[in-house]
Symmetry: D2
């Protein structure tokens, strides 16, 4: 993909998986309260869009991976959710 929106994400802490099928980023917060507050805001946005992250949380760290499973790779839905997550963080 050479999408300029993807390129911008890659300058903001997102990384492309080796197989090019997903992007991932680590978000780190002050504490668990801030981390889970972020997850709740993202959950609301994700459920509304019908497009959900694969993510893990360990105390104040949230690791996110975005891919469109139905499409077998990255789509605009991932790019847009990544942009939204940066806004919400």
């Amino acid at each position: 993909m050479t999408d300029p929106a993807l390129s911008t994400l890659l300058t903001r802490g997102w990384a492309l998986a080796d197989d090019g099928k997903s992007i991932h980023k680590r978000f780190e917060f002050a504490d668990f309260v801030a981390a889970f507050g972020f997850m709740t805001r993202v959950a609301l946005v994700a459920e509304k869009r019908g497009h959900h992250p694969d993510w893990s949380n360990s105390y104040k760290v949230v690791d996110v991976r975005l891919s469109t499973h139905d499409a077998g790779g990255l789509t605009d839905q991932d790019i847009e959710l990544a942009q939204k997550m940066d806004e919400l963080a």
Copy 2:
């Protein structure tokens, strides 16, 4: 009460009920996602402290009232939760 911490809260949007037994404040956010994200952060803090707000939500507005029911009025627990809510907003 003439608690200086309470006085500070009163300069930051909190108001004392006529009967002096509770304080209340309206928090307004950009949208429901931000409002509910705030409520989740507060819920985590409140449950940890064992001291919970009385609150209502209508879309992007959250109205909060704090009182210590067991004590029949305002206590330090309310003052401290109010300070924490201002930090979390």
Copy 3:
């Protein structure tokens, strides 16, 4: 309104406001954790639908009022959200 779906709700703890413009119900849970877990599930559904409750919470009690403000009264959106809230409780 004589909607049969509304009639069913009225047998399940929902009440119609005197002005006929909203319905309301009190949900009571075991504790704050259960009450806020319910609110989070409802928040996800509400944000997805773009139709949100007016609600208040005091520890383990959640009071809900549903109305379609844009329409100046009850609509199918309220009936359907009420049904969904009963499922989620």
Copy 4:
């Protein structure tokens, strides 16, 4: 560990890591709303206890791993949080 409480957990879907230092379980729900509702209830309990899970979520699946990092292995805090998570699921 030969803790009987641990043995009971192992009969209820929890598994012990090869190194004996953590336990893990997959929780599966009807949908994302149910999965994230569960995570919120657990988050409230975890923050109150000052003991948090390592967990990941993908749509309706929540994978949990419990270990007491400060102690370098399993402790009663993990056993008790595991029991509580089973109750909350």
